[in-house]
């Protein structure tokens, strides 16, 4: 039983997506009236190389934000720090910061899995 669980964990540990922190906090940035937070993306999905970053309010309406790249290229087992900048006036409206895996056409046969992890801004 123990070997079965270890084998299962080893077999599955190669296909994960992580996005932290769960509850990000915003700080002031070097630009006036713009606040920033740092998110961390970890790619353990071998078949995925790209993730899209999005910022939403509590009703899932998109909120304007700035970051280096909205579509992040990240290699397998790679970690990336992502700085997100938003207007100070939008801070009270923010509900979620999300990362979504992007599946390239042709890499998935039959049924693929699109993973999406959202952190909550309180």
């Amino acid at each position: 039983m123990r070997y079965f669980i270890i084998a299962l964990l080893c077999a599955s540990a190669v296909h994960a997506h992580e996005f932290t922190p769960t509850y990000p906090k915003f700080d002031s940035s070097y630009v006036d009236n713009v606040v920033t937070t740092k998110m961390k993306l970890f790619n353990r999905r071998k078949e995925i190389s790209y993730y899209e970053i999005g910022v939403f309010d509590n009703e899932w309406n998109p909120i304007t934000f700035a970051t280096e790249n909205r579509i992040v290229n990240i290699e397998y087992l790679g970690t990336k720090s992502i700085d997100i900048y938003i207007k100070n006036s939008d801070l009270s409206r923010i509900g979620y910061i999300c990362s979504v895996s992007k599946i390239i056409k042709g890499t998935v046969k039959s049924s693929g899995v699109k993973s999406k992890i959202c952190s909550r801004v309180k």
Binding site: A16, G106, V108, K109, S110, K114
Partner: protein
């Protein structure tokens, strides 16, 4: 005599120094959600007008695992496909159906997730109220037109697995 006192003093000093050099190990467990794609699904083609991931229809069920490090911080939201992401040109409508179920779990209390799940449209929501791992299996079925055979070619559809912080 003096030599003995010196030796004893040195031993006492060494002992004291060893105690003073204890190093604390500090750790923090922060909340985190990881989504694992354990099994990629495969459509079987049991009849000319149908695609299905059910093993009885020759398919393979996609299985997704959610790991949460802290209880009651996340919600799992899993959607079975309601369109093809790629397919040959289709001239008739496709009727979609599906189901998301808990297939396995690391904590016995997680068996309650199945009864507490909320379903709407093609989405199923589970409150991840316990820390640990939960496996979900997703059934997807696509039926084409009325009495029409699906055109030959490759069909792809995606399951969406979301982990939303509370």
């Amino acid at each position: 005599m003096f030599k003995s006192i010196l030796t004893l003093g040195a031993v006492v000093l060494m002992t004291t120094t060893a105690i003073a050099e204890s190093t604390p190990i500090v750790g923090t467990v922060s909340s985190k959600c990881s989504i694992f794609t354990d099994t990629a699904g495969v459509y079987g083609n049991p009849t000319p007008d149908e695609l299905s991931t059910l093993p009885a229809d020759g398919g393979v069920l996609p299985i997704v695992r959610y790991d949460v490090s802290v209880a009651d911080k996340y919600k799992a939201k899993i959607s079975w496909p309601n369109s093809f992401s790629s397919a040959p040109s289709l001239s008739d409508s496709v009727t979609w159906d599906g189901e998301t179920e808990v297939s396995s779990h690391s904590e016995s209390g997680m068996s309650a997730y199945e009864d507490a799940k909320v379903e709407y449209d093609n989405v199923t929501e589970f409150d991840l109220t316990l820390a640990g791992s939960t496996w979900f299996k997703i059934t997807s079925e696509a039926k084409y037109g009325v009495g029409k055979a699906l055109p030959g070619g490759e069909y792809t559809a995606n399951v969406t697995a979301e982990c939303i912080a509370n």
